[in-house]
Symmetry: C2
Subunit: 211 residues, 2 copies
């Protein structure tokens, strides 16, 4: 919302002294009520101020939900995705654990030699394997990973909101960002990842007005 300097002044006055009548606001600004009327109408319709007869104007407690939702819906996965963190399908569980610590990520994408998605392995999968008692150096990561077609994916064009919803509904920490490989059936190229950390980061940027 693009507020004029005068509208900002009105909000500041109402914040400080509300509930306050339009007459009192006009007096503070050395303006007539008629001059203020359009500004007050806009601020009220925008849901920033509320007016009550015989009481005056006060700051709306109802948040500007629709507008916030509108902004969030515009952001696409491609705008914020992180780099993919991958491991080859032939690697051992032990190698996956080491790579997870070295790269400090919670989820690794498992790929074939051409970089196509074969599976996803989470910290939880690795922890389960680690207390299972097998030889982690000999166990291939492909044994414990979630494999296609059970992997929940996203694409660069998908709204981040839809990706975040997938994370919550499917109770996963991360989604691979993929695109189909031309003329190769169901093969998917891994372009990046969206994680709960990516979303938390985006939340901070939105809250700081940076996104």
């Amino acid at each position: 919302m693009q507020l004029s300097p005068r509208q900002e002044q009105i909000i500041a006055i109402v914040k400080r002294s509300g509930p306050i009548t339009s007459q009192q606001i006009a007096a503070e600004l050395n303006l007539t009520r008629a001059t203020l009327r359009p500004d007050l109408a806009i601020l009220t319709m925008a849901g920033i101020l509320e007016a009550r007869p015989r009481v005056g104007y006060f700051l709306s407690s109802k948040p500007s939900q629709a507008l916030v939702a509108e902004e969030i819906k515009k952001i696409r996965v491609g705008d914020i995705k992180g780099l993919p963190r991958v491991i080859r399908a032939g690697a051992s569980v032990y190698e996956a654990i080491v790579s997870m610590f070295l790269e400090d990520v919670g989820t690794l994408m498992v790929v074939d030699d051409e970089g196509h998605l074969e599976g996803v392995v989470s910290r939880k999968d690795l922890l389960k394997a680690a207390i299972g008692g097998g030889d982690l150096q000999k166990m291939p990561v492909s044994v414990i990973m979630t494999r296609m077609p059970n992997i929940i994916c996203t694409t660069p064009d998908e709204p981040v909101l839809a990706a975040a919803r997938k994370i919550i509904e499917h109770e996963v920490d991360a989604l691979p960002v993929v695109r189909p490989v031309n003329g190769q059936g169901k093969k998917l190229k891994v372009l990046g990842r969206i994680t709960k950390t990516t979303i938390t980061n985006l939340f901070v940027e939105l809250g700081e007005g940076r996104s």
Copy 2:
């Protein structure tokens, strides 16, 4: 922002056919331009539509960042915190792993017999212990946990934005929500937790206009 049904219709038309003149919008809605003028003025001032002479109205590319940031800053930790997931300091690492799987959480708060915070243990801590080769049934969780005063905490009054920033800056998955225990020095009672999942959930709610 509380939009009227007609304002929603106008946005839909501009989304579909913009840039479009007010005359064309009026024709689509079977209204006069004069009737539409206040709606178009409000949508333009709210930063939702933009108008260019001899071109018409189109959806604004400039996001209403300030308003989104304003809304996000209002949300407090106490509004969205989840239930605390705790384990006693005397429990074994093995018990912590089992409890983590049973409760399906990424971080456990470690408490003394009176429920006061002693430490925090993450999936990463447990994975490190699990590949370390010790006897997990005999190793107390207090050996591997992060302990006070190194735990990053939050309080019910803190804005969620500040809590999310702590999660990102300190690279942790979860923050205990605490309050000091009256007259007991530095002791903290655990009231709940804020995690990357909580933030992702909140993001989805904001995007759906539900928060």
